[in-house]
């Protein structure tokens, strides 16, 4: 039968290098905005004293950093899944996933101000405040072995090193293969990825518990880690799609990535839209149905006044709209439509994280007097713009250092000839 589809001879052995200069405008703008933003943010963190602005800004910063943490962790998930399942389809985009995963150390670095400085930390985590002023209630005392400052930092260090280390190692092996053309890194990565997956699962679960669930130390849910993971895998796939499109629009990856890859990535985005809804619904549903006070408080707070509309927006925006949109095959095969969907997914995921973090802010800082802090939205915008600019800057710069696809991967052939 006729052999259609690309052959390897069309791809140079050294792959394609992205000339960062082609993105220089974006990088420059990101650098300027990020630089100014970081200076402003640091000023607030270092010289904010005991002001409400400093405390409010801690929430904004957590929201912005955790948003990017979920995206980077999702990138790592896709790399791990790809290796562990011995997949062929995504070799063409795997380097992009690897770069995304290697943003993890930066997200941890950015989290440092709110974790290391006492006032921001205690503004965020009431249990730390209660511990430091010595007003430990029975519930907190019962949780003491877990909720202590020392153990908290040990855990954060563990997540940071485990996740960043895995991301680093997997990219290192992949780059090694670029140079030598040896098959061994493929097998090494596969074997270790299987072992890394449990480490990844535990780390993502407990970082979600430590940084988000513990915003209210009285609330708990066994599903929490899975919920964060679902949004994480979803949003990182959206970033991968957008990155691929950006690179293609500048003339890269033209032969390597075809519409078939878009179709596959679109299907994965669709699948995780549904998975997120399934997890979110189950969690809400079980708490709503059982009506136990200490469990429903999470949702009651998020159904109070204006938050109610944010909750409703998530139902439609995070599930129904992308679901209905991506249901059609055409939407997954058309670059413009799928990019629109990806941008939307990133937006609603941001709202999702916002919806998790921010309702805690007003009641926490004002001791229950106010639901929201007036003017704090402005701080949120500063935080998200700053962190976004910093991340875009670092992400685009990392693109230029190596070939943009693993040119000597033994499964590249399968990937470029992908047929759905």
């Amino acid at each position: 039968m006729a052999d259609h589809g690309a052959t390897l001879a069309e791809f140079p052995i050294e792959g394609e290098r992205v000339e960062v200069s082609k993105f220089s405008r974006i990088i420059l703008i990101a650098a300027i905005i990020g630089g100014i933003g970081i200076v402003v943010s640091l000023a607030i963190f270092l010289f904010g004293g005991d002001s409400q602005v400093r405390k409010s800004f801690s929430y904004s910063w957590l929201f912005a950093c955790f948003y990017f943490f979920t995206i980077a962790a999702g990138g790592l998930f896709w790399v791990l899944l790809h290796h562990a399942s011995n997949s062929g389809w995504g070799i063409a985009v795997r380097r992009i996933m690897e770069h995304l995963a290697n943003m993890l150390p930066f997200t941890f670095l950015l989290l440092m101000p709110i974790l290391l400085l006492k006032t921001p930390r205690e503004a965020l985590y009431e249990w730390m405040h209660l511990l430091s002023i010595g007003e430990v209630d029975a519930l907190l005392a019962a949780k003491a072995p877990y909720l202590t400052l020392g153990f908290f930092f040990v855990r954060i260090l563990f997540y940071a090193f485990a996740l960043s280390g895995i991301a680093y190692l997997l990219r290192r092996w992949s780059l090694q293969q670029d140079r030598t053309g040896d098959v061994r890194p493929t097998f090494l990565a596969r074997r270790f990825s299987c072992g890394f997956i449990p480490v990844f699962a535990i780390s993502v679960t407990f970082i979600a518990v430590d940084l988000l669930m513990c915003l209210d130390y009285t609330w708990f849910s066994t599903m929490w880690g899975v919920y964060i993971f679902a949004g994480s895998a979803l949003s990182s796939m959206a970033v991968i799609i957008l990155t691929v499109t950006a690179l293609r629009s500048r003339g890269y990856l033209g032969k390597v990535v075809s519409m078939q890859h878009y179709h596959t990535m679109g299907k994965l985005m669709f699948a995780f839209t549904v998975f997120w809804a399934y997890i979110a619904f189950s969690q809400l549903f079980l708490y709503w149905y059982a009506k136990i006070t200490e469990e429903t408080k999470f949702y009651i707070l998020r159904n109070t006044e204006g938050w109610h509309f944010v909750s409703l927006f998530l139902v439609f925006g995070h599930f129904l709209v992308p679901f209905a949109f991506l249901l059609r095959q055409r939407a997954k095969k058309d670059v413009r439509q799928i990019c629109a969907a990806a941008v939307w997914v990133l937006f609603v995921h941001m709202i999702d994280i916002y919806w998790i973090v921010m309702p805690e802010r007003g009641p926490s800082i004002t001791k229950g007097e106010l639901l929201t802090i007036p003017g704090a939205l402005f701080l949120d915008v500063i935080a998200i713009v700053t962190v976004t600019a910093a991340m875009v800057f670092l992400y685009l710069r990392s693109m230029g250092k190596y070939s943009i696809y693993p040119a000597r991967d033994p499964r590249l052939h399968e990937s470029v000839r992908l047929i759905n």
């Binding site: 039968m1 006729a2 052999d3 259609h4 589809g5 052959t7 390897l8 001879a9 052995i13 062929g88 389809w89 519930l139 019962a142 949780k143 877990y146 053309g181 040896d182 098959v183 061994r184 493929t186 097998f187 299987c194 449990p198 699962a201 535990i202 679960t205 009285t218 708990f220 849910s221 066994t222 599903m223 929490w224 880690g225 899975v226 299907k267 549904v274 399934y278 997890i279 189950s282 969690q283 549903f285 079980l286 708490y287 149905y289 059982a290 136990i292 200490e294 040119a407 000597r408 033994p410 499964r411 590249l412 052939h413 399968e414 000839r417 047929i419 759905n420």
Partner: protein, 480 residues
């Protein structure tokens, strides 16, 4: 065009393991699989089938005795209203998940290796759901009133409570069964046509011909057929997730300590897949030996399924650990007591069995040797089958035997009726499976033919590869 890459030694290309060994041609596939249906069954088939029929008799007797006497013949008592009956229901419905999962999810993710096992797994699904359906039906007590579960207008003007998880269960399980039958049947149509075209005798030809619907394999037909199959797969995937989620809602929507936890839906689904795959392997490993299907169900298939068992087993382990952690972290005294009872109380032996069989033993599958030694695979699968039963027993019985008021606590022991009913369902399950082997093609022939290297227009000529699937170098020079 492909030659250009052959000379490109600087770039390795790893081969995929072939899904059919020994380069068997299409006619061999047809002959071997149809042969199972067309020839006389081996002696072993009868050795297995006769006891199954006897067990079906036992099941029938137990059911008749129960209906005639009342649910009092079971060991259920006041706190433990859901004893073995619901345990067995969840156990069987869990096993019934692997079939549709293999078919649907693996189809959507383009895992071609599914073709060798999907037919048998789907059949297994149906039989497991039949076994499962028996238990809630008889558990209602007055079996002849079961029709009250259906939303039909009645003389009393009463309607079902649609807010009850138990009613969702009725809808979920019956939908699941129906859709699984449709999915299975649609997959069967081309193979039934094969059996029809090979049949000589009248009844056989008429029967297969009737169900083959006059299939002609034209591309204009395949076009719609494939779309139907794809859509059914896409519908079945969330369905599989939903069914066990709804089953988990039976427990999780309540406030019973140990039942009310948010991770239940995905945890139950993972557990169901886990148990289902173990049962598929339990059935397929002997079947491939007895019927000589080693070239179709290769070590690679068993290896893949063992890996899925490892993965889902570890997910189940994750859920166990999260449950323990949150029950402690949540600070709810009743939750803490429930888990203390589970792990250290009267039924702790069941918890130990569950944890060992479901989480620890499958870790053997980290080792390639264990995935390729069929005795070890069988032993692990047996452990998983038992472990998954214990999981349901632990969840159901320990939670309600000792809930809020110590004055209301009691223990539960099954009666002989419950035990023999459960044993009887194994007879029903295996008996139906043996009949399936006798009358239907046990492997999807048309799909196997589709994954043969010759059928794939995109397949790479052997000279392309520099390394085999294990990473060993291939010497291409001698073969030109």
């Amino acid at each position: 065009m492909a030659e250009a890459s052959t000379s490109d030694t600087a770039r390795p290309v790893i081969a995929r393991e072939s899904l059919v060994l020994n380069e068997r041609p299409m006619s061999w596939v047809t002959n071997r699989i149809c042969g199972i249906v067309e020839n006389r069954q081996p002696f072993l088939w009868w050795v297995l089938f006769v006891p199954c029929v006897m067990l079906m008799g036992v099941l029938g007797y137990c059911l008749a005795y129960l209906v005639a006497t009342g649910v009092g013949v079971w060991g259920n008592n006041h706190p433990v209203g859901w004893g073995w009956a619901i345990t067995n229901f969840v156990f069987w419905i869990g096993i019934g998940h692997a079939g549709t999962l293999i078919s649907a999810i693996l189809f959507l993710t383009r895992q071609k290796w599914r073709t060798s096992v999907n037919r048998a797994a789907e059949a297994m699904t149906l039989f497991a759901v039949i076994c499962a359906g028996i238990f809630p039906a008889i558990h209602v007590g007055r079996f002849w009133m079961v029709w009250f579960l259906a939303p039909v207008p009645n003389a009393n003007g009463i309607w079902q409570n649609f807010k009850s998880p138990l009613l969702w269960d009725v809808f979920a399980v019956s939908t699941y069964f129906t859709v699984s039958v449709i999915f299975w049947y649609v997959g069967l149509i081309p193979d039934l046509a094969t059996l029809r075209d090979r049949a000589k005798r009248g009844i056989r030809k008429a029967a297969y011909g009737f169900f083959a619907l006059g299939w002609r394999g034209g591309n204009r037909q395949w076009r719609h057929y494939e779309m139907a199959y794809l859509l059914l797969a896409a519908l079945s995937t969330p369905l599989v997730l939903s069914v066990h989620s709804v089953v988990s809602f039976d427990f999780a929507t309540s406030i019973v300590p140990g039942w009310h936890t948010t991770i239940f839906p995905p945890y139950f689904v993972a557990g169901a897949i886990f148990g289902g795959f173990a049962m598929v392997l339990t059935l397929m490993i002997p079947a491939r030996k007895i019927y000589g299907l080693q070239d179709l169900i290769t070590p690679k298939h068993i290896d893949n399924m063992a890996k899925i068992i490892l993965l889902t087993g570890t997910i189940v382990g994750y859920a166990y650990i999260m449950e323990l952690f949150i029950s402690w972290y949540g600070g709810n005294k009743y939750e803490q007591a429930a888990f203390a009872n589970r792990t250290g109380g009267y039924y702790s032996w069941a918890y130990v069995c569950m944890f060992t069989c479901n989480v620890i033993v499958p870790q053997l599958f980290w080792f390639r040797y264990c995935r390729h030694n069929l005795w070890i695979v069988m032993a692990v699968c047996m452990c998983v089958n038992a472990g998954m039963w214990f999981e349901r027993f632990v969840i159901i019985v320990t939670s309600i035997a000792q809930d809020f008021l110590p004055g209301a606590w009691d223990f539960y022991h099954p009666s002989w009726v419950e035990i023999w009913t459960f044993v009887g369902t194994f007879g029903l399950f295996l008996g139906l499976f043996l009949l399936f082997i006798r009358f239907f093609p046990v492997i999807a022939m048309s799909e196997i033919k589709g994954v043969l290297p010759k059928s794939d227009p995109h397949y790479l000529p052997p000279g392309t590869f520099t390394h085999d699937a294990e990473g060993r170098e291939i010497d291409n020079d001698g073969e030109q």
